[in-house]
Symmetry: C2
Subunit: 347 residues, 2 copies
DNA sequence: CTTGGCACTCGTCGATCGAGAGTGCCAGAC
DNA sequence: GTCTGGCACTCTCGATCGACGAGTGCCAAG
């Protein structure tokens, strides 16, 4: 008995089950796929596959269903990522083309992924930690308040308002603001966040005694912004697709929706990519550490401008999922978004 | 037969049904509420209420269930908005206190509302149309690009990158940027969007011939930002709560989730508030024009800084909902958020 | 106008049963 | 040794049926 054929049978089972969502029996298999053998032979192979834990029969007289391990073998050894149709490719381009700023890119991306894969799409915001400061702007507000606007190389903008504790609207005040603006940009512009944070702190000591309080206020607000946990944000779309996949989930989709609202755990999940960041990563069913998502699979990939992968995106769906097509869509979108970010980075 | 008692019966039916989620019969009613009459009398009243279309029997031998019209009467005439407990009041404060910027306020608000009401929360971003320009900053990027940062009085920030088509890094370039910056702030700062858009357009004609192209680029990007549809954004949370309310929805929650992803229609819905913007607005079941949301009720209220209501927030749940408590939560949160925005506005 | 009584209606629940699908295994063919 | 056809067996699913119970509507009397 050839191991090859056994794997062919597994592949056929996965394909049929994904398409029909019903346990597949030996008869149906030989009819739909022209394996050159009889149903009885297939049955023997199935028994073996079941022993190996790759498929499983819901009950004695039902067909077989792939296990998580079965899907894993399918994804790793039995399938090729389907290249996307040119129509879809064009659609991606058109849909993302009109994006006007970073928020908009993320927003469009997540919707696009959801409608492309008809599953739940998850997009992580480009992380700040690997980002650099492009420019810092100070805008006086009222007499003593200052709005700090931090512009990041990814195109993102953060703002804070601080009270400097002294009048800024007179001549010396304006001069002070100008000085601070010049100093902080001098040390921070073009510099990675981590470095910028350190350098900025030094500025406080160097400042004139009279101006130290104001500088202190600005720098400490900036320090906050630079380590801000908002770097860790995700956006979702397509939750409605969960409802459509009715029979695929054990009881209800409640636990899944709940897990999806835990953005923190979601982010942790997205953070754990495979070894090669250029490859699509697939986490199948119980491989998934998060309670509530163990009946789902996550197909994800890193994206970002330049060589660095600054964030991840992906889709989440039932383990009974068309992996080749889904993986193709995720990969295509991740690449396209990366391109867009590259363009926008336009030093 | 007193009309008063009939309404008491209606109220009792609503209360019981909300609590038990099962059709309520005459016997159960007289037991749980000490109406001073017998079950038979209540049955007569029920027959009348049914004629009026306020309640309805799912089938011949089941109890009664309020209709949408019944809930409407309940909300309008039979219930008072329950004041919130001091514990909850404090929780709201603590939860929203730590917000660091506008995005964060919105984010926390929507989560808070969802967990407070155990329903789907919807928060609209403060709309730009009624906003005024606080400041416009120009930041040179590369040799000919300019990043435009628009700071809004609500604390929101918009940015755009434009290509001015000429070198900005030399002396005259820098002078040009300074001039443009000065001119646009001169005419636009502190001015409502609609007015600012008009005035800015005029600047192009007034500009020196040599600088006109650059000015044109900046102004047209700003024009876009000022009418930008991103003003219309909503954030959701608590979709998982829909799944919990299992029996409350006819078939599945699919259509509802789908409707919730149509942010445009959601926004339209939120926009149609009641007459008095200071009152909680309730839209019950079929009163709701959106297909897919006709088995749900939307409890919403405007919020915003100052006297103006710049946006709305609310929660969406099954028509079988604890209206008094929900309305109380929505109102409390809306007021609190308004306060926070007021503080941050700190002219 | 209210009340107790009573016949009637229906939906729910559980049990029973037959049909159909699919398996496991065995004995024979290649 | 591997494959194949055949056959008995198992198990789920859906339909049918009947008893049960909740709740109503109506009537005649207080």
């Amino acid at each position: 008995m050839s191991e090859d054929r056994r794997l062919m049978v597994l592949r056929a089972i996965v394909q049929d089950y994904v398409q029909t969502s019903e346990p597949v029996g030996s008869r149906a298999l030989v009819e739909r796929h022209h394996l050159g053998v009889s149903a009885a032979t297939v049955r023997n192979d199935m028994a073996l596959l079941e022993e190996e834990g790759l498929i499983h029969a819901p009950h004695t007289s039902a067909g077989r269903v792939p296990t998580d391990a079965g899907y894993r073998v399918f994804v790793d050894r039995l399938s090729a990522v389907k290249p996307l149709g040119s129509g879809e490719r064009r659609a991606i381009g058109q849909f993302l083309e009109g994006a006007v700023d970073l928020d908009d890119v993320v927003d469009r991306t997540v919707r696009l992924l959801a409608s492309l894969t008809r599953q739940v799409a998850v997009v992580q915001y480009p992380s700040l930690t690997r980002s650099t400061v492009r420019h810092i702007e100070l805008v006086p507000m009222g007499s003593s308040h200052l709005m700090i606007v931090l512009i990041v190389n990814t195109g993102r903008v953060e703002q804070r308002v601080v009270d400097t504790g002294r009048v800024l609207s007179d001549g010396t005040g304006e001069a002070l603001v100008a000085t601070i603006r010049a100093r902080i940009n001098e040390v921070a512009a073009g510099v990675p966040f981590t470095v910028a944070a350190t350098r900025l702190r030094r500025l406080v000591d160097e400042a004139d005694e009279a101006d130290r309080a104001a500088m202190e206020a600005v720098v400490s607000a900036l320090g906050d912004a630079l380590v801000e946990e908002r770097e860790e944000r995700v956006v979702l779309a397509g939750q409605a697709n969960l409802a459509r996949a009715g029979t695929d989930f054990p009881r209800t989709i409640g636990p899944i929706l709940e897990a999806l609202e835990e953005h923190v755990t979601l982010l942790r999940l997205l953070g754990q990519l495979g070894d090669d960041p250029d490859l699509v990563s697939v986490r199948i069913g119980s491989e998934n550490p998060v309670t509530g998502l163990q009946s789902t699979s996550l197909v994800s990939m890193g994206y970002g401008s330049g060589a660095e992968r600054v964030a991840s995106l992906g889709v989440l769906g039932p383990t009974r999922m068309d992996y080749p097509t889904t993986m193709a869509s995720v990969r295509a979108v991740a690449r396209y978004v990366s391109e867009i970010l590259d363009e926008n980075q336009a030093t």
